[in-house]
């Protein structure tokens, strides 16, 4: 069981990183919870693939899902509608954010999976299975010619997809990180 005594030990671990750690007594009202209980909320996917679930999908599997659940907003074949295009060959030639696309801007392939899984479809987020999210990610990447038409996306392959714009970012204030 978690006890206040253990929390003090946990706090002492912080000393290494907290410059002005005041070890004043704190209420310790947080309820211990294990990662298994958090798993359903823990939907963050990292650029190295950490957090990607089991499952897989192909562009061919993604196409009908896209047509059914995505095209009403993102347009046929993802070319754009009331929501932004997800398939586009637009080139960046100004500072306008309207030009940013998955292909010309997003630096990490995992961002696509993470965002679809947490936020899409817009009016029914978290309603897609992990296989469906992989399939939609594969479909979008393939339509943008970032992977082959028969490539399978899963926890192994997705993080390895190289996004064309990945090296074009400048960290604005490195000393704040």
């Amino acid at each position: 069981m978690f006890t206040p005594k253990r929390a003090v030990l946990a706090g002492s671990l912080l000393l290494a990183v907290v410059a002005d750690a005041s070890m004043a007594e704190t209420p310790h009202l947080g309820k211990p919870i294990d990662e298994a209980a958090i798993a359903n909320w823990d939907i963050s996917v990292m650029p190295d693939g950490a957090g990607l679930p089991k499952g897989s999908g192909t562009p061919a599997q993604g196409a009908p899902i896209f047509a059914e659940k995505c095209s009403a907003c993102h347009g046929d074949n993802g070319k754009g509608g009331i929501a932004a295009a997800v398939v586009s060959d637009v080139k960046i030639d100004s500072i306008s954010a309207a030009q940013k696309t998955i292909k010309n801007f997003i630096g990490n392939s995992t961002t696509i999976f993470d965002f679809i899984r947490r936020a899409m479809p817009f009016q029914a987020p978290r309603s897609l299975s992990d296989d469906e999210v992989y399939a939609l990610t594969a479909y979008i990447l393939a339509e943008n010619k970032l992977i082959g038409a028969n490539d399978v996306m899963n926890a192994e392959t997705l993080p390895k997809v190289k996004m064309p714009n990945r090296d074009n970012f400048i960290i604005r204030f490195p000393d704040r990180i």
Binding site: A7, A10, G11, L13, L14, A16, V17, V18, A19, A21, M23, T26, P27, H28, L29, G30, K31, P32, I33, I38, W41, D42, I43, S44, M46, P47, D48, C73, I82, A83, I92, D93, S94, I95, S96, A97, A98, Q99, K100, F105, I106, N108, T110, T111, D114, F115, R118, A119, F122, Q123, P125, R126, N168, F169, I170, I171, R172, F173, R176, I177
Partner: protein
Amino acid sequence: MARFTDRDMRGENSEAVAGNGLIDRRALLGRGMVFAGAMSTGIGQSSAAAGAEPLVDDPWSLEFGDPMLPYQVPSKFEAKVVRTLSNPNHEPRNSHARTPHHLLQGTTTPNGLHFTINHGGVPDIDPDKHRLVIHGLVKQPLEFTLETLSRYPLTSRVTFLECGGNSAPLFSPQPLQENVQALHGLVSCAEWTGVRLSTLLEETGVDPKAKWLIAEGADSPHLSRSVPVKKALDDAMIVLYQNGERLMPGNGYPMRLLLPGYEGNMNVKFLRRIKLVEEPAMSYYEARTYSQLLPGGKAYRFYFVQEVKSFITSPSHGMALKGPGLYEISGLAYSGTGRIEKVMVSADGGASWAQAALQEPVLSKAFTRFRMPWRWDGGPATLQSRAWDEAGNVQPTRAEFVAVRGELTKPPPVLAFPNQHYNSITSWGVGSNGEVKHVYA
């Protein structure tokens, strides 16, 4: 101050502190100067009118007034003091509500007028069921409720919150004819009360490998942003109260992350999860939306800071001055890197400047109200403000800003976010007819 007008140089504006009518605030403190000045410009003459209407009691002075409301609302005569909505029909897309700075004074944004952007509507959260978990690279993951967080030592701080895309219409190559609400309405300032995040992280313990945390909301997009642990341990808070009452639903009820001085989107609302991690997640909003294209095709990433900015709220675009005379130029200044040190005001498009009075107290990362007396002579004027912060940062001129950040090739829709982190000078042009318009100068 250089380059006063001819009239200034002839000594006709003995109280002048800069060109085109900016006058010494101390001159106004001597009543004689005020009356003398007002008379000379005609403003005082109406008060000398003979045969004025005798005063009578109006109906509201002769009857029992209205009942009180449990939660009072502004007078019906203030019905125009509202936020402007980008998506009034609640179409399935994001929604913005902008603060009417031209109709407000002081430094506190009333809760009902605080700006809001929501990417998936406003969630209807039952506070008794809401949970915040902190996990990942910690010694002991913990779960908190609103009730338990309310029992922690609470701290309050006044701080502005600004959308990274506030002022973005000024990336336009021509000045959009829009008012201060449309141009700068995505910033507000409130007193926030809550628990220091460092207190909670002390209780979970943080693995020294953790350099970032992912903050995530309970809204439908499960909005998430990566935040450096450095900021979390500096001045981050989990806030529960806004200007003394529980957070407004649109501002994150029942709890949100507060990162003083950092772009609004990072101050994750409806906060339900914090995960300590080694590297940033590169979630959608940091990977795309809040990375800013630069001239030449590269882009900034992790801008975070809302840099020093000011703008005049009165007079401002859409107002009409009612004849020559004495006016107070008033506006807001703020900086994500500390206190405002000074604000300079110009009435001649930057040819000469005078230092404005700052309303006390001047708080770090908070709205600072500045005021400057101005005697309008009825001729054309270009009003500007420029702020400095205690860290030595100065608000850039538009030319300086555009030289680094570029501008758009054509005017954008006013509600678009064509780019972000615009903080240069705003100019209001006053015509001989008294009309005030947005100009570049």
